[in-house]
């Protein structure tokens, strides 16, 4: 691999990531601010003040205070430069800076996401691995059907089922809260069931395809056992297509956090988003959406950068010789 080719590849990917992030911010801004609604009314309503009771002078003063009397482009520019410095404005409902609101909660959600992610990675890979290795047809069939079952239950239902069983019936774990590892178990399980199933589905297909490849026959003909061939020759090739959905899985974790944090009353970014949407707290929604987009873009960037390490064909080098 030539140094310049790698640099160009990296530069291209980073530029693409920045572009996607900008687009996500802009689309969210356009949707939130240019929809037919009255930002001032929204804002004052969120603060518990009736717009009708204010004089036009008072209204104008509020508009000026929040910069709402500026042209749309100027507002957009104000928000964009603010966002670049980590400032997403002030929450309408709570009167606190959005960055502070998110900052206080991001740790909880991050812990949950990481635990759920690790859980789904381990469970999904193990399941796909077993389904590819087991030769007894009934068991193989059973294993390969599991992911579709896991992916089809609604998350709130799984969450309620877990609470009913582990909290109310067995009293092993607390039903709500965000203090201590005990509160982490059920939310993580709920998320991992979905994302783990999605991962297992992709991996299983990809294992099936890979194990049909002629180079697997080449490897088996040298006397390697099936387990060894699956580990040394099939796994890396089978993991490549699964890498692609990692970004989707992370996005799924963010969406799941909204449901799960609400059901389990965890004070995280997901719950903040849910509350902000209900209260029409526009700056908070914009902040959370931008954060989610940033995470998504970052994960995809990491995946893109990992690809050349896993698959040497990605950065194309010319043939060195002919026989």
């Amino acid at each position: 691999m030539t140094g310049s080719a790698l640099t160009r590849y990296l530069a291209g990917r980073v530029a693409q990531a920045v572009g996607v992030l900008w687009a996500a911010f802009t689309v969210t801004f356009v949707v939130l601010y240019l929809l037919p609604s009255d930002p001032v009314a929204l804002q004052l309503g969120a603060a518990g003040i009736e717009t009708d009771k204010l004089t036009p002078e008072q209204l104008a003063q509020v508009e000026a205070q929040y910069g709402l009397d500026q042209p749309v482009l100027a507002q957009y520019w104000h928000y964009l430069t603010g966002a670049l410095h980590g400032d997403f404005g002030t929450s309408f409902a709570q009167g606190l800076p959005v960055s502070q609101l998110i900052g206080e909660r991001v740790g909880t959600t991050l812990t949950l996401s990481l635990v759920a992610g690790a859980l789904s990675l381990v469970a999904g890979t193990t399941l796909a691995w077993l389904a590819a290795y087991v030769r007894w047809r009934p068991l193989r069939l059973f294993l390969s059907r599991l992911p579709s079952v896991g992916a089809s239950f609604p998350q709130f239902f799984i969450a309620l089922l877990l609470i009913q069983l582990l909290s109310f019936s067995l009293a092993w774990l607390p039903a709500t809260g965000d203090r201590g590892w005990q509160t982490l178990v059920m939310p993580a399980l709920t998320i991992a069931l979905l994302t783990g199933s999605m991962l297992a589905q992709v991996l299983m297909r990809s294992f099936d395809d890979t194990l049909q490849q002629p180079y697997i026959t080449t490897a088996r003909a040298t006397g390697l056992s099936r387990a060894a061939v699956q580990l040394t020759h099939a796994f890396r090739n089978a993991a490549l297509p699964a890498m692609t959905i990692l970004g989707v899985l992370v996005a799924q974790t963010v969406t799941s956090a909204i449901v799960v944090e609400t059901v389990f009353t965890r004070d995280g970014v997901g719950r903040l988003a849910q509350q902000a949407v209900l209260a029409q707290d526009v700056p908070v929604v914009l902040g959370v959406v931008t954060l989610a987009a940033a995470v998504f873009v970052a994960v995809n960037l990491v995946v893109d950068l990992l690809y050349p390490l896993l698959d040497p064909r990605i950065v194309h080098t010319p043939k060195v010789s002919r026989s």
């Binding site: 180079y215 003909a221 006397g223 056992s225 040497p312 010789s321």
Partner: protein, 540 residues
Amino acid sequence: MSDLVTVEGLEIGYARRRRIVPAVRGVDLTIAPGETVALVGESGSGKTTIGTALLGLLPAAARITAGTLTVDGVDVTRASERALRALRGAVVGLVPQDPMVGLNPTMRIGAQVAGPVRLRGVRGPQVDVEVVEFLEQAGVDDPVLRARQYPHQLSGGLRQRVLIAIALAGRPRLIVADEPTSALDVTVQRRILDHLEGLVRGSGTSLLIITHDLAVAADRSDRVVVLAGGRVVERGTPRDILVSPAQDYTRRLIAAAPGLAHGGRIVPRHAAAPASGEPVLQLVGAGRRYALPRGHGSGTLTALEDLSLELRPGRTHALVGESGSGKTTALRLALGLERPDTGRVLLDGTDVTGLGWRQTRPLRRQVQLVHQNPFASLDPRFTVGQSVTEPLVSFGIGDRRSRTARARELLEQVALPASYLDRLPAELSGGQRQRVAIARALAPAPRTVLLDEPVSALDVSVQKQILALLVQLQEQLGLSYLFVSHDLAVVAQIAHTVSVLRRGRLVEEGPVATVFGAPREDYTRELIAAIPGRRAESRV
């Protein structure tokens, strides 16, 4: 000395919808230590099934229904997986069919050769030493560098040598080579077969060559076993088989192998005759360079340099050469997929070099292409009818009814029944697919058809049928062909004139009868000598 392999009354079938479809029906076969045996037959004759059965690697759907298969004293039909693993690699090594897909794309060459070395219990730095040794033995140049490279950085011939190194690394007593070179250029094919033969003779290893090409089999083996429909129809020394074939089937295989058909001589179909008519396609001093990624020497690769050729109506002009000789580049220039850096391209006397795609589109209808691989060039979700009428749709020719009528007519021209209109490519054999691809190319009634290695993915007997079809269509419709091939024997069967290319440069050109009959250049002589079957004929 007892035989290394003994096969008795072997019957293997494939389970399909609760029925067992037989593939091998009562085959007897022995291979003695140090002996080279060739298993010859067309696709579907069961030859590959026997090869994989020797390694105990039959697919899950295969069932051994009768007979025994003993390798080195172990009955493979009832051996445990553990016993089979002891056989694989150490007793029987496999050189698989297609070098382009036979190597793990994400693993370095060295690691892939090291696998079987480690299985023999070798550890530590000795592993690397042996890896380089085996690569060297298999004829890989610069083995230390190659061991660090990935498969996609190597040419097809080198990959095939790596596969041989992997088979050698287990130090087997028998090597099963399943169509080891059919995907390669003739000259590369010859070098690899020569090399494999030398290795086997030198070390007393047995070799089982599985091939559809009787010429390859006869050239390389001590004994030939001819298979048809899962049964052995004939066996004997190459000499017996070639001189006095007992079966019609064997005679057909001999007739189909271009190198064997005329006693080892190449007999051009067309005599040298002056061409008439205005050229339908011309390249004038055409050249094409590609930029290499930075850090690779001069920065450009000259794919083609100063090539001129003329294709006259109703004639076939062939471009021959090895991979990298520029023949495909010339084809892409002729088709207008790329523009020449120097020189000009003329269609029907019109200079199309500087014209855009839109301006030349009416002319494009006159020039159609048939691809090399009929397994990849047909959309698997299109029926035969849809595939054949697609060019009519894209050129906006006719309505639904007239297109269907045209499709029937085209299928008739390529000798396929009209009932095939609703079939999918997966239901067709390789030869039938190539007929469909030819029918598709003929759909807009072109005057010129560009044929890119149209038969090299097919069995020799099917090759012969497709070539006969092409000749017949040329006579009926007055078509001109630009025929790209690495196989001179095939070229002799169809072309009037030929250009021999090497590394982007013209080596020699002229009527086939002249160039092949009295080659002026060493390179042309080398290509002719590489045609399989010539050695067997000289031994007869």
